[in-house]
């Protein structure tokens, strides 16, 4: 079983569009949406939820007003400024560390578990899917990503799947790190813009840091061909190839509006054809073991 993560550094480069098409093209895969704070893949794959589980990723300090003597020690020791002047805990600021609970002389503070999201196991017409939704504004998305990946792995083992295809979130912080550790290949979807190149370079560094073999595809390559060439050279200089150049085509947005992966909605379009090439290149690289 091989694990592939689609990531990008910069947001909005086309990760989900490409992942959804891979779900269509891969015959025997489990799909995992690891963009848990803004998941979009379900809008293309339309999962039927089989199982829902609460995600208890963090704790929250609760102050017993009757016992509190308002001494202010918790305010002083909290490094997250989570206790207000009138001794209310700001749930957005509290990281559930428990310092206030151990230092409170009146033992007025306890840590409670909070449900900060849901994880789902679902069935789609393209195969099983593991996904989640972090409650808006919650922290610990990295832990929820880990849960989504665990669920995907269990599903994949049970189903004897060949692949786990993971849709990552933008950035390079904790949820992205949780999405890429230990996978067989990381596909970075880059766009040929100055920002895109900058963010691609950091995403490549991230994969190298965690010893994940990188590969790159350029989305909307014809928006700026000069920058596309820069990306190709950058990849070659770093010892890996570009797996494809997907052209800009309004039919990609049209597919999204119609709630379908582009490889299903317009399989003959130039964009879908190129995504298919990217997929087959990744397949053969995985078989060779070079990615």
């Amino acid at each position: 079983m091989k694990h592939l993560t689609v990531l990008s550094g910069k947001g909005g480069t086309g990760k989900t569009t490409i992942t959804a098409s891979f779900a269509v093209l891969a015959k025997n895969a489990v799909i995992a949406d690891c963009d848990v704070d803004a998941p979009d893949l379900h809008m293309l794959l339309h999962p039927d939820v089989i199982e829902t589980m609460n995600f208890k990723g963090s704790k929250l300090a609760v102050i017993d007003e009757a016992a509190c003597t308002k001494c202010g020690l918790c305010r002083e020791k909290c490094r997250f400024d989570a206790v207000s002047e009138n001794f209310q805990v700001d749930p957005f600021a509290c990281e559930g560390c428990g310092v206030c609970a151990i230092i409170c002389p009146a033992s007025a503070i306890t840590l409670t578990e909070r449900v900060s999201g849901q994880a789902y196991i679902s069935k789609t017409k393209y195969g099983f899917m593991s996904h989640a939704l972090l409650s808006p504004g919650e922290s610990n998305s990295g832990k929820l990503v880990t849960l989504v990946r665990q669920n995907a792995k269990i599903l994949a083992e049970k189903e004897n799947a060949d692949f786990v295809i993971i849709d990552g979130s933008p950035g390079i912080g904790c949820p992205v790190i949780a999405s890429v550790t230990g996978v067989d290949v990381g596909l970075i979807v880059a766009e040929p813009t100055m920002s895109g190149i900058h963010d691609l370079e950091r995403a490549v560094q991230l994969l190298k840091h965690f010893e994940v073999p990188p590969t790159v595809c350029v989305n909307m390559h014809d928006i700026n061909k000069e920058n596309t060439e820069r990306i190709v050279r950058f990849c070659e200089d770093n010892g890996f190839g570009v797996a494809g150049r997907i052209p800009f085509n309004p039919v990609v947005t049209e597919a999204m509006v119609n709630g379908k992966p582009i490889s299903e909605y317009a399989p003959r379009s130039d964009a879908a054809q190129e995504i298919e090439k990217v997929w087959s290149r990744i397949l053969s690289a995985l078989k060779r073991g070079s990615a």
Binding site: S8, G9, K10, G11, G12, T13, T16, D37, A38, D40, M43, K59, K77, R79, F92, A93, E95, G96, C97, G98, V99, I102, I103, L111, L134, P136, G137, E138, S139, N140, S141, G142, S169, P170, G171, I172, G173, C174, P175, V176, I177, E191, P192, T193, M194, S195, G196, H198, D199, R202, Q205, L206, H209, I223, N224, N227, P250, T253, M256, V257
Partner: protein, 277 residues
């Protein structure tokens, strides 16, 4: 006045809006809080005048005092400490720097040391004061850098905060304390879905918001229906134009080449000012 620019979905044009807005108004300070992938400085090319490392505190164990009781590891909610029969392991990337282990240790064997996770840079580009942070690759926690970026806020100026995408902790840290939040979206199902999550976050935080529809003309009309139903004002529409996309791809803020947009961003600012007052 502090205006934050957020979106939910990535790549909708937050930085583009933030930069063009900053270039269109006076007396402005722009803070790039997307410290995982900062881009504003690529469009502004500032002259850097100051650079500041950002540290977090992580535990340092004095093995001479430690008796391996394991209380620190038991206390740590983030599993950043592991205690075996004769060794304590610290995992800096898991540590949230709460300081709890130093308090709980009965042997006073834990002190704290500095661990660099990123850098904050300050500079000037034209009339704009720019502050941006950068997380070191491999470090998982952007929030302490965002805090350091926000410590540079000069309230006497018009402050613009460029937020990272998403709706989780780095976004909360960025928008906290703003007078107004501009949500940049695109008129597609993904744009709408993530706009809705972001709008809920702002509502929960009681921050007034308005929407900028970027790439207007692509996708469908559902974002407009949503904003009407939820009574979220649409303050600006930026059409999908190849010229704007191409300028962006070359790292050029489009209002510099298309000066009619400066007026539009100026009136966007005026309108936000009216909302806040």
């Amino acid at each position: 006045m502090i205006i934050s620019i957020a979106s939910g979905k990535g790549g909708t044009g937050k930085t583009s809006v933030a930069v063009n807005l900053a270039l269109s108004i006076r007396d402005v300070q722009l803070l790039d809080c997307d410290v995982e992938e900062p881009n504003a400085h690529l469009l502004m090319t500032p002259k850097i005048s100051q650079e500041k490392p950002v540290y977090v505190s992580i535990p340092r164990i004095n093995e001479e005092l430690c008796n391996y009781c394991g209380k620190c590891a038991k206390f740590c909610e983030y599993n950043a400490l592991f205690v075996s029969a004769e060794k304590v392991l610290v995992f800096p990337e898991l540590c949230h720097s709460c300081g709890g282990c130093t308090i709980i240790c009965p042997e006073h064997a834990i002190a704290e040391e500095k661990h660099q996770i990123g850098t904050v840079r300050m500079g000037v580009a034209g009339n704009v004061h720019l502050v941006f942070g950068e997380l070191e690759v491999g470090e998982p926690m952007p929030v302490p850098i965002i805090r350091e970026v926000k410590r540079q806020i000069d309230k006497s100026k018009n402050v613009i905060l460029d937020s990272p995408p998403g709706t989780s902790c780095p976004v909360i840290e960025t928008v906290r304390g703003s007078d107004f939040c501009l949500l940049v979206t695109e008129p597609t199902p993904f744009g709408l879905h993530d706009l809705n999550i972001a709008a809920q976050v702002l509502e929960g935080m009681k921050i007034p918001s308005g929407v900028v529809v970027n790439r207007a003309g692509i996708g469908d009309r559902k974002v407009y229906e949503y904003c009407r139903e939820r009574r979220i004002p649409i303050l600006l529409e930026i059409p999908f134009q190849r010229r704007i996309a191409e300028l962006y791809s070359r790292g050029i803020p489009f209002s510099l080449e298309m000066p009619e947009w400066k007026e539009k961003f100026q009136s966007l600012f005026d309108e936000i000012e009216r909302y806040v007052k």
